[in-house]
Symmetry: D2
Subunit: 140 residues, 4 copies
C-alpha cells in the first residue's frame, strides 16, 4: 500500500527504509506543505576526490533528488506514487570538506500528471549554494 509521510518522524522512517538513502545517512530536517529540507553528514563514503576530500557530486544529486521527491509527496494535491522523470543539476562550487550538505526542495507546481520541483544544496556556507536542481516527477 502506498503511504505518504505526514510528519517529520514518519518522513525519517520512510527515508530510512530506502537502502541507498540510509547508506548515505540521509536525514529529513523539516517537512512542510510542498517543502522538505534534508541533509547528509560528511562521510568518507561519499568523497568524490580523495586528494581534496570533496564530496562526489553524485551524492549531492542523490540528496537533492530524494528531497525533491519528498517535497512532491508533501504537496496537498499529490496522493499517488511518483517517480523522477528528469532532473537538471547545476554545480556551482565544490562543497567544503568536512561539512554536512543540506538540500531544500519546493514542489512549486502540480498538474494532473506531472509535479515540478526545484531544490538548492549548500554546506555550512549557506549564502553560496553548492548546487541547484530543477526536476519533474511523473505522478501515478
Amino acid at each position: 500500500m502506498f503511504e505518504i509521510p505526514k510528519n517529520l518522524p514518519d518522513a525519517n522512517e520512510f527515508i530510512q527504509r530506502l537502502p541507498f538513502s540510509k547508506a548515505l545517512n540521509m536525514r529529513v530536517d523539516e517537512l512542510a506543505e510542498s517543502r522538505a529540507i534534508m541533509s547528509v553528514p560528511y562521510d568518507l563514503l561519499i568523497i568524490g576526490n580523495p586528494a581534496t576530500g570533496v564530496i562526489h557530486g553524485g551524492a549531492v544529486t542523490a540528496l537533492m533528488d530524494t528531497c525533491c521527491g519528498l517535497a512532491v509527496l508533501a504537496h496537498p494535491d499529490v496522493n499517488t506514487p511518483m517517480a523522477t522523470l528528469n532532473l537538471k543539476v547545476d554545480y556551482m562550487r565544490p562543497a567544503n570538506p568536512g561539512q554536512s550538505i543540506t538540500a531544500e526542495a519546493e514542489c512549486y507546481n502540480v498538474t494532473r500528471s506531472v509535479a515540478f520541483v526545484r531544490a538548492t544544496a549548500y554546506d555550512e556556507d549557506k549564502a553560496r549554494p553548492v548546487a541547484t536542481t530543477h526536476a519533474t516527477f511523473t505522478l501515478n
Copy 2:
C-alpha cells in the same frame, strides 16, 4: 599532479581511488577515444525502493556522471582537470532488480573551456535504456 588514465587498468585504478565510486563498486569496462563504458553490479546498498528492489535513480546518475567524466578525460584535446558543470538526466523506466547497470558515455564536443557529453544507462535489456543524460564539464 593531475594524471589522465590512458588505459583500462589505469582507469579502473583511478575509479577505485574515488571513495564514492568504490562504495558503489563502479567498474570501467571499456575506454576509447572520447568514450567510456562503466558498470555497477546490483547491490542492496543502492536499492531505492525496498518494496520492489529497484535501484535508486541517484545511483544510476552517479554512474553516468562518473562515466561522462571519464569520457571527457579520454578526449584527445583534454589535458586539464575538469568538473561537472551540469547534467540533465531523463529516467525512462525502473531498472530490473537483480541486474547490473551499464553506462556508455561519449564526449562529442570540446571547446576551450567546456566539454559536452552524453550517456545512456541500461540494464541487461540493452534495447530499452533506463536513463539518458546530457552533461557539460568545465575544463581547468
Copy 3:
C-alpha cells in the same frame, strides 16, 4: 480533430499552418519513423547579434523544439496530441552568419505518457554541431 502528418508534403503543410514556424520559414526536409529533419534559412529576422550577424539561440531552439515534436508524431506508437514538457539545450558554438540551420531529431523512447527525444542542430559545417537538445513531451 487531431491528425498526424504521414508524409513530407503533409508535414510541411502542418508546419506552415503554425504561425511561429511559418514566420521563421521552417521547412521539413525529411520525415521517417521516429525521425525528422527540419531547417530554417538564414534571415535578418532571426539575427540575435547585429554586430556579428549570428542567429539568436532562441531561433535555433525553436527549430529544434518543433523538429523534436515532429519526430514524436512520427513515432509509430504515438497517436495522440502531445506538448513539450521540457527541453535542455546546450549551445556549442555560434552559427555561421549567412548559413541555414538544420535540425535532426530522433524520438528514441516512448512510454505510456512521455516521449523522449534528442536533436542536433548544425549549419553548413555539419561536423561541428551548433547546439544539441534533450527533450520530453507529454502524450495526450
Copy 4:
C-alpha cells in the same frame, strides 16, 4: 566595444537592436541588480497552435533566454560579453491566448567563468507560471 546597459532605457535600446528580440516585440519592464523583467505582447506571429491561439513555446523560451542574459549583464561582477551555454525549460501549461507573456529572471550566482540564472514566465495569471528555466551563461 562591449557595453552593459545600465538603466531601463539603455536596456530597451539594447534589446531593440537585436533583430529577433525586436521581431518578437520584446520589452524590458524592469532592470535591477542581477534581475530583469521582460515581456512580449500577444501577437499572431508567435502563435504556435492556430486552432487554440496558444503561443509557441519557442517564443516563451526566447523571451526567457533573453531575459536571463539581461539579468547576467545586470550582475555587479559581470563586465564581459557572455553567451548562453545551456538552458533547461519546463513548460507547465499553455499560455492563455490574447495575453502578454512576462519573464522574470535572476542571476543568482557567478563564478569566474560561468553565470547561473533562473527565470519564470507567466501570463496575466501570475499565480500559475507558464514555464520556468534554469540557464548557465559562459562569461567572456
